[in-house]
Chain length 124, copies 4
DNA sequence: GTGGTCTAGACCACG
DNA sequence: GTGGTCTAGACCACT
């Protein structure tokens, strides 16, 4: 589990952890049934408070990605891959919708958005 | 000046005001030299605190959109239109870059993004 | 009386008027006994409120530069030149003292201040 | 952090705080990475409102002297020393330029300014 | 504990 | 009338 945390980001640390684990699931680094590091171990590795890792795991559990068993640890759930992909797709749509919104405020056409997209793509 | 403010949004009220005024500038509703409503009047109209409208105006001044003169009022600056358009374009690019980022995490191609864009466009 | 007023300055308009008249006295443009324009005329010429020119004249009278006679107008006083020069000298000293202060905060020596002064002089 | 605040000064309290912290940076009392007192603690110590200390920290952050992290605190940035020295140097130049300006209005020569400077220096 | 946002008042200087 | 500064509270999210 290689998570890089930035204190200076405006994204909360717990959110960064959630995002990273979700990405690991999408990428197949974490598969259904795999055990996650304990909240205490992860907290140590990332040099953050246990409260922070606990909060991240709580969110992941709430959203159905992991299943925590008292005294045993946390494990990746079966639906996790599907859920993670759905989540990211929804995220993607949010950004595209926001882009469409702003483009309309700038009186830009759909083709102009696509042109801009092409431009940004070649830059990356 | 028709600004609709939502208390329940996670976007701070002062930011909503800033965004709205910026949009009015892009749309030509506010032109260079125009006077903005006084912070107190706007506060009354929006039913928010004077401090909130003041903060919005402070940000707009910092970013060069308006010029505030003590005892006189606030006025739209000359460069405001250019600035506002640049700001929105940069915003748009941020969203598209984020979209490209997430798409790559989902192993989606550029054409798939465009297809999704088309889909979202027809929905709107 | 050629006074140029700037609305965008952070110096109050009445202060700008006071400063200009004081400078005219130092430069000999206004001499002891000369009549000043009426507050109403001056207000018109400068496109400012009568209240503003009135305030300027009040300050000048308070500080002994002019003498206002009801129904006749305002006249430059005898001591005005001396007063004006003293005022400006005091101003000059304030700036030099402030400079000395800041220089000491920067751990700069007196000679270094003079060097900087020479540099700024040649630029002007 | 020994800051002495004057309520009766015409310099706003938040500005006094900004100046003091800037001076502490120049003097090496505050170094890169150091934590500043929390806005609430500082407010208590100085017997001023939290909003006042917050405004001071906001200005310092805007100008790049400190970095504020929500939930963590405020920390002195790396470029702070350079920035602070540049700021003070610019301040110094402003005062010297103003002095040159007034001196010319008084028809004083450069050497006369230097003489005055020497006089003021011995007084201090 | 930290900062971020917000409210409802107040007094001041400027015009 | 305008903005500039300030106070003394409050609730929220993050650690």
């Amino acid at each position: 589990m290689n998570i890089i945390i930035s204190n200076h980001s405006d994204i909360p640390i717990y959110q960064q952890i959630v995002d990273h684990i979700r990405q690991n699931i999408v990428d197949g680094i974490l598969s259904s049934g795999d055990a996650l590091p304990s909240i205490r171990l992860l907290a140590k590795e990332l040099s953050v408070s246990v409260i922070t890792t606990k909060k991240a795991y709580e969110i992941l559990e709430e959203q159905g990605y992991i299943k925590t068993v008292a005294g045993k640890g946390s494990f990746v759930s079966k639906q996790s891959i599907t859920l993670a992909k759905e989540h990211k797709t929804s995220d993607l749509e949010q950004h595209l919708l926001a882009a469409i919104d702003i483009a309309s405020e700038l009186h830009m056409s759909k083709d102009e958005i696509k042109d801009l997209l092409d431009m940004l793509y070649t830059e990356v």
